[in-house]
Symmetry: none
Subunit: 503 residues, 2 copies
Amino acid sequence: MLEENRAYKELLDVYKEIKIISSVESVMYWDNRTYMPKAASAYRGEQISYLAGVAHQKRTDSRIGSLLQDLDAKNIDRNDTTVVAVNLREWWREYNKSVKLPQELVEERSRTAVEAQAVWIEARSKNDFAMFKPWLQKTVDLCLRTAEYLGYENEPYDAMLDDYEPGASTENTAETLTKLCAELVPLIKAIGEAPRQPDTSILKRNYPIEAQRSLVSEIARSIGYSFDSGRLDETTHPFCSGLGPSDARITTRYDENFINSALFGVIHEAGHGIYEQNQPKEHYGSPMGDFVSLGIHESQSRMWENVVGRSNAFWEYWYPKAQEYFPHLQDVSLDDFHFAINAVSPSYIRVEADEITYNLHIMLRFELERAMSRGELKVDDVPAAWNEKFKEYLGIDLPDDTNGCLQDIHWSGGDMGYFPTYSLGNLYAAQMYEKALDDLGDLDADFRVGNFLRLKDWLTENVHKHGKRYNSSDLIRTITGKSLSAEPLVKYLKSKFEQLYNL
Amino acid sequence: MLEENRAYKELLDVYKEIKIISSVESVMYWDNRTYMPKAASAYRGEQISYLAGVAHQKRTDSRIGSLLQDLDAKNIDRNDTTVVAVNLREWWREYNKSVKLPQELVEERSRTAVEAQAVWIEARSKNDFAMFKPWLQKTVDLCLRTAEYLGYENEPYDAMLDDYEPGASTENTAETLTKLCAELVPLIKAIGEAPRQPDTSILKRNYPIEAQRSLVSEIARSIGYSFDSGRLDETTHPFCSGLGPSDARITTRYDENFINSALFGVIHEAGHGIYEQNQPKEHYGSPMGDFVSLGIHESQSRMWENVVGRSNAFWEYWYPKAQEYFPHLQDVSLDDFHFAINAVSPSYIRVEADEITYNLHIMLRFELERAMSRGELKVDDVPAAWNEKFKEYLGIDLPDDTNGCLQDIHWSGGDMGYFPTYSLGNLYAAQMYEKALDDLGDLDADFRVGNFLRLKDWLTENVHKHGKRYNSSDLIRTITGKSLSAEPLVKYLKSKFEQLYNL
């Protein structure tokens, strides 16, 4: 039996050790973004880059190479989905990529990320793109150098994308996103012209933060997020992070005069957290206990945030409770509230965008990143290019860079190729949900009585428990019997919003 | 120049790396004790013991030994207080100690600490000394075995004390503490019989936690604790922890019906934090950037907590602000409040003891530890000896062992020789403060107008900035021109409390 093989066991131990180091690194990041004192930033950079360096060294240790060679990991059949085969295949994939990167580059990337993030925070608050520009340039250069070391099929962006969505190609992604956006631009236009419009001012009433905290915690718990293995904290740019097999923490930001940020932010992050909390613990530290890709991760958050959390059935259960927390909602009907939280309207900030326009925010970033990676767009010209595309897709002008190209943390964190996975998440979510309805029947009936665990268990069964058994394309095919397509998302969005807006 | 020496530089790098690992470990502990979710506990244990193992391996690497040998670190003149000499001397000291201990003993000590602590928690809650007895015996045996490996001048307790207070001798410590207690026992008796007594019930009114949090934060900031390089969080057993050169965090616990815990707890921890924040950053990771000893660390917290924080002048400034936070204090005079926070009264629990009786709690533990280490006291007889001494020093009977010899965590953690450093802290603080008054003149005048920074800067200049340049005995002599003596503390306590109690 291969499980008994000494080489395989040694690999399990090595990767368990690497996971300890990288999970410690995650704690350092979490702290960095929640509670760390300001002045600690520089040394935190040293701590993190040291850990990243040690982990990188271990990941690229030639001992792994020779163990994998002994086990012929390179030639594992992609269709063999047994535990050992999956682990060997993924270890090989990771090892092969990581040995291509020089230690010096890896360390510079993590150091740059920490420093650039501190600058970005200030630049954003001061609306000062010039302050951030050299760091963006450095990030682009580092990402391109990385891509050259890794190699790619058609263009450097393939290598960048592959970091977040293994196996995805820039060209296919561009094609699917183009199809999606081609359907969405006219839909957005029709919605903008519709006579029936929601009153979104009700979302901008006074929502005391303590009450928000209680409501969103209750909701997160109800959909299956465990606070015994997690927690909810405040941060500037919300995220979810797995810090251990029983430690997946989520974060949010509260706006006293806008319920959406924390409400849908937390449902979103809880979706990520539920995925982290339900991966098989016995495989923690090996690919079978890890998530598939950012796109699949995002499908979990988007499904809970949008498909479930913005559905009428969900609010049939939660709205009376929300009215208790915020008595001023007593004069607002469930329908009006439901319409308001589904308002579609072009806006500046990606993380606050509605379910439809969100995808155009992504398209814009994807195109800009791709252009930068091809040398077709200079860092100097990013603000202008951003504003121009924004106008083209969403029809409105941006007031400043704080609301434009300085809004996202990603570039300051060294992440290029990450953005498309958000829209891929929407696409996977819609396609999976279609199948969940086939399998489980009337989920709305569950939601109306506050039962969200049948869906959660279906997701655990079909997605979470498999770890990296399948890559994202294979997973979506395994679950739904079809390759990823724009169709289910387009269908879902059209049906929902044509009804809401009476089109 | 020795600074240019390649071996010296290599040592600096090695120890810088060890410091990165141990500072990461500190972040993991801090998180463990503040925010970590419950279910994460087991894996956190794995993460921390991995980091501790790596650091231990690096600390005892024979490469360090041969570099130190090349530099003849063993024979550095103790009076040479240049940076290089200090670092070499302290590195040698640490390395030489660590290689003397067999790995098997080190591991047994940490294993025993974990197991003994679990038993101690149960024994304490059940008031069952018999249950804890075998573990105390094992701890004493392990500490004695350790002392034999390390060597000592006069008695094994020297080696134990040396772990926490390098260079201190058992005999000198005993002599100073004996003198101190000889003066305090009659003082406590006189205080107990004094007709004028404080009304401490005012400290047990309702103190809303949010207001406590604001007040104690304001105070901590005013005495020089930096929130840019630190933060204040809640925990069960308050502590201060240095997580980096610009990251020293403090913790507290709030009791809504007792102002003292958080109020003096935070001033105390802030004193530790100020020490951590003002060690020379350019020497972070080497002895010149590290604290002297537990006693000196404690002198910083005790000076701010007691000498400053319980002084009349301090409250002349802060009391009107406290009355704003807690309007029910409007009917309490400053004098009554000041008297209440300085109430002296024998009590069972060390951590809740007042400024005077605290030292007798320590004397008792010190004498028992020393007697055990000499084989003059059997573990079986600890409860009886404890109770007898307690009656002798504090004049009251103990109800049970939970309130007696089972109250402290130290023995179960394998720490023998730690207790005396608490009283040494009080002694150092009083002797330093006497000199600060000589140098700075009327500090009370500063305090009355809320200026605490002249004292803080004096401490930085005389203590913080020297790192481990001097050991504690040398430091106190360098600052005050005299060896440590009981006199300043006795004088300070007598003058303060004779006045307060009208003796």
